[in-house]
């Protein structure tokens, strides 16, 4: 009320000036709604465009074993993206297994242990990893990391341990495969998880640290038994966001995983991922069914990252709220 009176006294009845707030509000709301509309439109477009494959194959589009777009005399075209889905899950698993503990360590170091003067530049460096375009990871991976990793890890491991453990078996061949893809993706998602972890650790009230220290805990015990448990939900949220990025990563995977539809037990063998399947085949699709099957795969990627995002935001929100409530 008071606001309106002020506006009147100032505007001297210039109605455009006084009533500008209504169009302003409508304008911002409408453009903000574009963001919401974009999300729904993306989902709807992919849902509709994928209906042909979904009605033809149902869940088999994602979990069927054979992906064979081209009809031959012997076989009908068949679309089961399991090799790609499996490659996505495996490479993301490798990525998250490597990245989650490292990122937790980085987050802990940045939030709890590192001298404050060092924290800002180090955070900047870590976040720079997230700014590097994924195609550069791909180029670097193909020309530098793969040959190096082959020599120092894949070949020796597959020749020794690999003779006993099937999923480390050779031959390593070109060196492109699930393992290298997972490792490069781990580097790519490190900053996502690490900087979020750092942020949620900083939300932990100091009273929790002091209470732990005051019963004779070491610095590490304070971090591990008081600070980390307190922000546990947020850390899980951060890992979920990292997982979401790994699942949807396209370029590094396309360049590094070898794009093979064959399912092989070994992590050193080439495979393919859902995202690279779409990137490689959508523009060359041979039939509308093929196209529709690829869109189904993309839709599944969209759906799963949406769910992960929702979960992660809820987790982080939970920590945020806990901070406000924990003070009383």
């Amino acid at each position: 009320m008071a606001k309106q009176q002020h506006a009147e006294s100032w505007s001297n009845g210039k109605s455009v000036f006084r009533h500008g707030d209504v169009p302003f509000r409508i304008g911002t709301v409408v453009l903000a709604s574009c963001v919401v509309a974009l999300v729904f439109a993306m989902g709807a477009i992919m849902f509709l465009s994928s209906s042909e494959a979904r009605t033809a194959f149902g869940w088999d589009v994602l979990f069927g074993q054979v992906w064979n777009p081209v009809a031959t005399e012997l076989s009908e075209p068949e679309f089961g993206a399991w090799p790609a889905v499996r490659g996505t899950l495996l490479s993301s698993l490798v990525a998250i297994v490597i990245a989650a503990p490292l990122a937790l360590g980085i987050g802990i170091f940045l939030a709890e242990l590192c001298p404050p003067k060092l924290s800002t530049p180090l955070s900047f460096l870590v976040e720079l990893l997230a700014a590097i375009p994924s195609v550069i990871y791909g180029v670097w991976g193909v020309f530098v990391f793969v040959p190096f990793f082959n020599q120092v890890f894949s070949t020796p491991v597959s020749e020794t341990l690999g003779t006993y453990i099937p999923w480390l078996a050779g031959p390593v061949a070109t060196g492109r495969g699930v393992m290298v893809t997972g490792i490069i993706m781990a580097i790519m998602i490190l900053p996502t998880i690490a900087s979020l972890t750092r942020d949620v650790l900083r939300l932990v009230p100091n009273t929790q640290r002091e209470a732990m220290l005051s019963i004779g805990a070491t610095r590490w015990e304070t971090i591990w038994l008081a600070v980390v448990p307190y922000s546990r939900a947020g850390i899980i949220g951060a890992v979920m966001l990292g997982l979401g990025r790994a699942l949807g990563e396209t370029m590094a995977a396309t360049l590094l995983i070898g794009n093979s539809q064959r399912i092989s037990e070994s992590l050193f063998a080439p495979a393919t991922t859902a995202a690279s399947l779409v990137a490689n085949e959508l523009t060359n699709s041979v039939s509308s069914l093929h196209e529709s099957a690829l869109i189904t795969v993309a839709f599944a990627l969209f759906g799963i990252t949406l769910v992960l995002n929702l979960g992660a935001r809820l987790m982080i929100w939970y920590v945020d709220r806990g901070m406000a409530g924990g003070r009383s």
């Binding site: 169009p23 302003f24 911002t28 963001v35 993306m42 700014a131 550069i136 949807g248």
Partner: protein, 328 residues
């Protein structure tokens, strides 16, 4: 003083775990330095005037143009000259020069890619700016509304969903409908990816404007729209520009959506309704190439992209000194 029985062990764990967080941080910084180092040295060596002023040349053409004659017999590579006609001109089909081509140096430049990236990303940014900035204003100025939470979440979904998904959606909407890969389709896909960055940065930057400024403007009787445009946005402008720069850098590096929308090209094109070249596509396609000369171009493209990202990020760092909200 009495030493508790497990004291030594606890001290040991404390030291080891604190040390391991340092190691974890190293695990993020070392690949960063390795990637930047390789891209700057290998990519840097690909640079020449020709690199920036020339467009793509097929490797055999470049070879023949550089030599101007039949290569001399090389004892280490006895098959070098085989297949070259006696008159020294390049064969019309180009395949016969293979052996030379594999050993060839840089082939042409990436001017077409640079121009394409500037056009595609610039246009994408133009599309993204109105939505992003106004949505950001909405999120900041009406921040406590329930709808703002929905908009914010949709923003997170957009920035968390795989970039290939944006490509798929635009492929369905634009490429299939128009039966044509085009620069404009690429810009639209990049818009989807840039909107959340611009929105969240604008929101964060507007929120940094002290509440007292809003109150002062209100106290003078200015309506919300007027104070927003004349007081709050100008105060936050440097930060918003920062977000726009980050969005540009992010968009310029995106590859996956462009594969599905602009396809790529080997010549300079400014036709928005036709396929166009772009730097990340250059890097991607030439990494896959068996020709070392083209691989060099890939490194060069990676170098230019990396410089763009580094310069933007460092500029932003220096300009704001505050944590830009883009990464959150």
């Amino acid at each position: 003083m009495s030493i508790p029985k497990n004291y030594r062990w606890r001290k040991f764990v404390d030291q080891v775990m604190r040390g391991s967080t340092v190691v974890a941080t190293g695990c993020a910084v070392i690949p960063l330095i390795a990637i930047i180092g390789y891209v700057l040295t290998l990519g840097g060596s690909a640079l020449s005037t020709q690199f920036f002023t020339d467009v793509y040349q097929p490797p055999n053409m470049a070879q023949a143009a550089a030599d101007g004659s039949t290569p001399a017999f090389d004892p280490n590579d006895p098959f070098a000259g085989i297949g070259v006609p006696d008159d020294g001109t390049a064969p019309a089909d180009g395949t016969a020069l293979e052996s030379d081509v594999y050993a060839g140096g840089p082939v042409g430049g990436v001017l077409h890619g640079i121009i394409g990236t500037l056009i595609i990303t610039g246009m994408g940014l133009l599309f993204a700016l109105p939505i992003g900035i106004f949505a950001g204003i909405y999120l900041s100025e009406y921040r406590n509304e329930r709808y703002a939470t929905i908009v914010r979440f949709c923003c997170d979904v957009l920035s968390g969903s795989p970039s290939i998904v944006a490509g798929v959606v635009i492929y369905i909407l634009v490429v299939i409908q128009s039966q044509q890969f085009s620069a404009i389709a690429g810009s639209l896909a990049l818009m989807i990816l840039m909107v959340p960055i611009v929105t969240r940065t604008t929101e964060e930057m507007l929120k940094l404007v002290p509440e007292s400024m809003r109150e002062a403007a209100r106290g003078l009787g200015a309506p919300t729209w007027y104070s927003t445009f004349t007081v709050i946005i100008p105060a936050a402008l440097p930060g918003i520009v920062t977000g726009v720069m980050l969005a540009f850098a992010r968009g310029a590096g995106e590859t996956a959506p462009l594969i599905l929308t602009v396809l790529g090209s080997n010549v300079i094109s400014t036709n928005l309704f036709a396929p166009m070249a772009s730097l990340p596509l250059v890097a991607y396609r030439y990494t896959e190439s068996p020709y070392p000369g083209e691989n060099t171009l890939a490194w060069g493209a990676a170098f230019v992209l990396m410089m763009l990202v580094l310069v933007m990020n460092i500029l932003v760092r220096v300009a704001t000194r505050r944590r830009a909200g883009a990464s959150r």
